[in-house]
Amino acid sequence: MFGDYSLAELGSILVMQGFSGLILFSVFLLMALGLAIIFGQMGVINMAHGEFMILGAYMTYLCSHLFEAYFPSLYSGYFFVAMAVAFIASGALGLLVEWLLIRHLYARPLDTLLATWGLSLIMQQAFRSTFGAREVGVELPQWMMGSLPVAGSIEVQINGLFVMGLTIIITAVVALLLYNSRWGLQVRAVVSNRTMSGAVGIDTRRVDWLTFGLGCGIAGIAGSAFTMIGSTGPTAGQLYIVDTFLVVVFGGAQSLLGTVASAFTISQSQSTLEFFLTGSMAKVLTLLMVIGLLMLRPQGLFVLKVRR
């Protein structure tokens, strides 16, 4: 397949393909971050993670219409407001859900799986009743579309760059929060030993509550960003949930670094394989690789060493 092409052409394709891998990495990481916090730190398997993302996407859709109707002059910047709104909406709903549902189930992790799955069905139907069964189109401001010519025939997608930038910022913020704030210290303490943390006066209930809300809020931001590359419909959240769990489990549930490393490994292998094989085969091989590695390292790539 390479016979008819000049070296320059091949070079630029290689660069663009590398860039595609990086975009995929950012997408995986962004969608996994919220889940990693909830699953990793609290041990709650949140099956409704995808729906929290789609809530963010719908908020973006609403914002785009609101800005178009009332503040057309600010339209080019609406996306930033939309992301903030998405964070608040998904985060607030997360806090509510934790208070109503999740906190009663901490001792029964398998029941949270069932409960959040039910929640995801409820949310899907709520989206369907509110916004209609059809997918909605989210329009982007002009500057976010198209691609930038870098050199020669190399082009990079603007929305890809945007997602990458966003992912870096959010990962940095989460890392800062976890390792440099009082809340982060408490979270890490609770993860290490819940009973002991309670004994030394940490309000573990409150820590759980905030952690769940933050995880859902980040899912909202991710959903908002993904309106640029994917669809917004009542069941679109289901498209992301499998990959998201894959990244989190593969990375080792309790490690932020593990999530980053796992998103990178999975995205790069998938993107490379996709180029040389076909889409479906790439997926098959990626999954096989993940299964193989998990058989060797059942805890995931990175394991938090804690004495129980």
């Binding site: 393909q17 595609s20 059809r134 997918e135 082009e155 992301y240 180029f275």
Partner: protein
């Protein structure tokens, strides 16, 4: 109880309903069986709306053999066993005289044995891969050759296309359709397929294949991607700087319904091969679009399958009136040759194989999410669910 109309008296119930269907002196009951919850609700909503509109219009004209149509709606819930179960309920418990329903091939395959065992009549609206023909089903959408061959001929003639890149979601319809497309491209047009690729349903990342397309520079991208993947594919194509005004793209899976989600700006300039576009300029269609919008709201768009679903109740009414009976066997036997001149797509006729003769059309996507009609076949295309030389 309403008094039977004069027309109904001409056709006494005992005579038109010899097999115990839900037919009274004043009413006849039919079933509507689509997904209104679950993944497929996105697609099937339009079909339900079209069928309800057709039933309302038929009733306004006096019904079928003087009897008003009453419908029982069941939800297949995007789950194929549920479809089979609900089909059985409609046929066995409700004794419906016909069923308008199903959308995916999987749901049709699930209900087919039920319809054959309990002798029901299904009007199936979706374009599909063919390789099926049943006495108990009328296929009001196109089978694969009707949707593919004329479009490929057109793109070769008008665009001078020499090379094709085939894409699809990874399940039976895109795979069978691309198989037919490949045979036609290679064996009949003597042109070249430079790539063929499938993606798992729900796939949202297409950057790698877009790079491959950039590398192999095909004259035509032939895309049969469905569902949420569709949106991702066209958004990423656009973001990667592929301008569909310069790069020819032809799809058989994007109707006006899907463009709603994709966004007109992401697919403008692309070509679709269908039998119906909302923008068709004929009196039947204008009346249909106006009535549809009056019933379901001004913002609604109408895609190919929605129109095909609208044909179902009308074809059934015409067939029953020709047969002079609601009995399934008589309706099935009377079906071939039924003509419907009021179809929004123009004149259609039922073939012996229970598919429709209909035209193939090529449309070009506009910024506002509608298609401009670019080309239509001069004659109705014959349905050929078991095409020779394509298998």
């Amino acid at each position: 109880m309403l008094a039977p109309t004069a027309l109904a008296q001409q056709f006494p119930t005992a005579k038109v309903n010899a097999t115990g269907l839900a037919v009274t002196d004043t009413e006849v009951t039919v079933g509507i069986l689509h997904s209104v919850t679950g993944t497929m609700a996105i697609s099937e909503t339009g079909s339900v709306q079209a069928e309800k509109l057709a039933i309302e219009q038929i009733n306004a004209e006096g019904g079928v053999l003087g009897r008003k149509i009453k419908f029982i709606q069941e939800d297949g819930a995007s789950d194929w066993p549920t479809f089979a179960e609900k089909a059985k309920k409609l046929l066995v418990n409700d004794k419906v005289a016909s069923v308008m329903g199903c959308w995916t091939s999987a749901s049709r395959k699930a209900v087919l044995p039920v319809f054959e065992q309990y002798n029901g009549m299904l009007y199936y609206p979706t374009f599909y891969e063919g390789l099926e023909a049943s006495k108990n089903v009328i296929y009001t959408g196109q089978e694969a050759t009707q949707q593919i061959i004329a479009g490929l001929d057109w793109v070769q003639k008008e665009k001078g296309a020499k090379t094709f890149y085939l894409l699809g979601s990874d399940y039976i319809w895109p795979r069978t359709s691309n198989k037919i497309a490949r045979k036609h491209i290679e064996n009949f047009l003597k042109l070249k397929v430079v790539g063929e690729e499938y993606f798992p349903l729900g796939s949202t990342q297409f950057n790698s294949v877009i790079n491959k397309i950039k590398l192999s520079k095909p004259d035509v991208i032939y895309a049969i991607i469905v569902g949420g993947s569709n949106v991702a594919f066209y958004k990423q194509l656009k973001a990667a700087g592929i301008d569909l005004n310069k790069q020819t793209l032809m799809t058989i899976s994007v109707t006006e319904d899907e463009i709603d989600g994709i966004g007109g700006e992401n697919i403008v300039g692309g070509y679709a091969c269908m039998k119906y576009f909302q923008s068709l300029d004929n009196p039947n269609n204008k009346a249909f679009v106006a009535a549809f919008k009056k019933m379901w709201g001004d913002k609604i768009v109408i895609g190919d399958v929605t129109q095909a679903a609208y044909l179902g109740p009308w074809l059934w009414k015409l067939t029953v009136e020709k047969a002079g009976s609601f009995d399934i066997d008589k309706v099935a036997a009377a079906s071939p040759g039924i003509e419907f001149k009021g179809a929004p797509e123009g004149y259609v006729r039922i073939h012996e194989n229970h598919h429709l003769w209909s035209k193939t059309r090529v449309g070009r996507a506009r910024l506002d999410g509608q298609y401009d009609l670019i080309y239509e076949t001069a004659e109705l295309m014959e349905p050929d669910p078991y095409p020779k030389g394509y298998q």
